[in-house]
Amino acid sequence: MSGKEGSGGFRKRKHDNFPHGQRREEKENANPSSALMTSFKSFQLELDTRHDKYERLVKLSRDITIESKRTIFLLHRFTSAPNGEEILKESEVKLDAVRQKIKQVAQELIGEDMYQFHRAISPGLQEYVEAVSFQYFIKTRSLISVEEINKQLIFTAEDREETTNTTSNSRDKQPHTWSLKVTPVDYLLGVADLTGELMRLCISSVGNGDIDTPFELSQFLRQIYDGFTFIGNTGPYEVSKKLYTLKQSLAKVENACYTLKVRGSEIPKHMLADVFSTKTELIDQDEGLP
């Protein structure tokens, strides 16, 4: 189809009078120093700065998550055997390293509203709560409080280089102190995840011939479950969601205790391990055990 140019023809192509080329030039030459463009340049800077900080915090949170998870795996290897003390010591070293990362988070957040970046760091903090409360349970057979956790997250400057400018909005009372407070919700979510690890501990401790721990765990988990039931739906949605998994973990532990009680007298200890190494469903179906 040959295009007709100019004003000779009746039909004009859309482009002829639609000043595309001209308009493109106009756009590209939008006065770069107009008030509007200047504002938008400053918006660009502000948004980039904010996003960069968010990304740094996400990276820290991921490191915190990974190292906390590794600590949990390490703690699962704990038994009352001689190397138990070593494992606990090593876990403390690992958790100290995690706390150093949390210190960096606290430093990034100086002068900022923590809640603006909360979504970036929440997963890491929950995993940390899970790890530190797991270690605490192994050591003391009790639940660490959120206050105790936060006490360990107060950091002081070790050398000159760490001095930063603080604003009047900063949480810190002295110039060289940083702290991070784990929120009640992050604490609850971490504790909810802890119950999953405790359930695994229960199953594996029977395999190690430890038949006292399951009953301790059963009681402990029930207390936690009661606590979550008390909170019910008054917390945020994420907390209510965890309740379901918590119930399942508790049920597995209670079933393990039942099996131990009922069958413990019949089965030699070394075979008890086999009973618990299969999946829970098989344990339920397993009626014909001699």
């Binding site: 004009k12 308009r23 938008f40 340049k41 809640y115 009790s142």
Partner: protein, 229 residues
């Protein structure tokens, strides 16, 4: 502390949080009502005779904004001042809407883009976080993008009402706005989605300008209105 004591204390904290949110919700509802009133008022400019009444509508809208300022004062008292972002989600939507309405009023009055500081003043809040309850930059930008859609619609209705010069001025304004937004590095969030709509607004206005120019209507308009800026 026993486990049950710990959970009782946590429940206390959660309950407190819920109470604060309930108070905030009440004020936000009042703000939403005022925003609706301003919107209804300003929507009138799209009608034929509405064009003549623009100055009056702007004036009335500004009166409503003083109600907004009072409600904002009340909102500021409902939560600790340093926890703005903890509760930000509650008022984010209405604040974006109010930014749009303020920007619309300012555009109708002066055909310029209202600055962040000016909007903050109209709404009775701060422009900087450090100074108190502030306008977040992303909420400002979202409100401005809503203005772009509104102006695309206004361009269409201007032509229908016989005003052939306004679309040309809107076109220049929106194109500059588009250039500004192209400077921003946005993440894949709601602001980015809203920004993606801007190109359709730009296209719609370009089509209006095109329709006018092929019919020579824009030339009549420029002779009358004193040229495209």
């Amino acid at each position: 502390m026993s486990v049950s004591d710990m959970f009782a204390a946590l429940q206390g904290a959660l309950g407190q949080d819920q109470d604060i949110r309930e108070e905030i919700r009440k004020v936000v509802q009042a703000l939403e009502q005022t925003a609706r009133e301003i919107l209804t008022l300003l929507q009138g400019v799209h009608q034929g005779p509405g064009f003549q009444h623009i100055p009056k509508k702007c004036q009335k809208a500004r009166e409503h904004f003083s109600t907004v300022r009072t409600q904002m004062e009340s909102l500021k008292t409902k939560f600790p001042a340093d926890q703005y972002y903890r509760f930000h989600e509650h008022w984010r939507f209405v604040l974006q809407r109010l930014v749009f309405l303020a920007a619309f009023v300012v555009y109708l009055e002066s055909e310029t883009l209202v600055t962040r500081e000016a909007v903050a003043e109209i709404l009775g809040i701060e422009a900087d976080r450090e100074r108190g309850f502030h306008l977040d930059i992303e909420d400002y930008l979202s409100g401005v993008l809503t203005l772009a859609s509104e102006l695309a619609r206004l361009a269409v209705n201007s032509v229908t009402a016989g005003d052939y010069s306004r679309p040309l001025r809107i076109s220049a304004f929106i194109n500059e706005l588009d250039s500004g937004f192209r400077l921003l590095n946005l993440k894949n969030d709601s602001l980015r989605k809203r920004y993606d709509g801007l190109k359709y607004d730009v296209k719609k206005i370009e089509e209006v300008v095109y329709d006018l120019s092929i019919r020579g209507l824009n030339k009549e308009a420029t002779v009358g209105a004193g040229g495209e800026k």
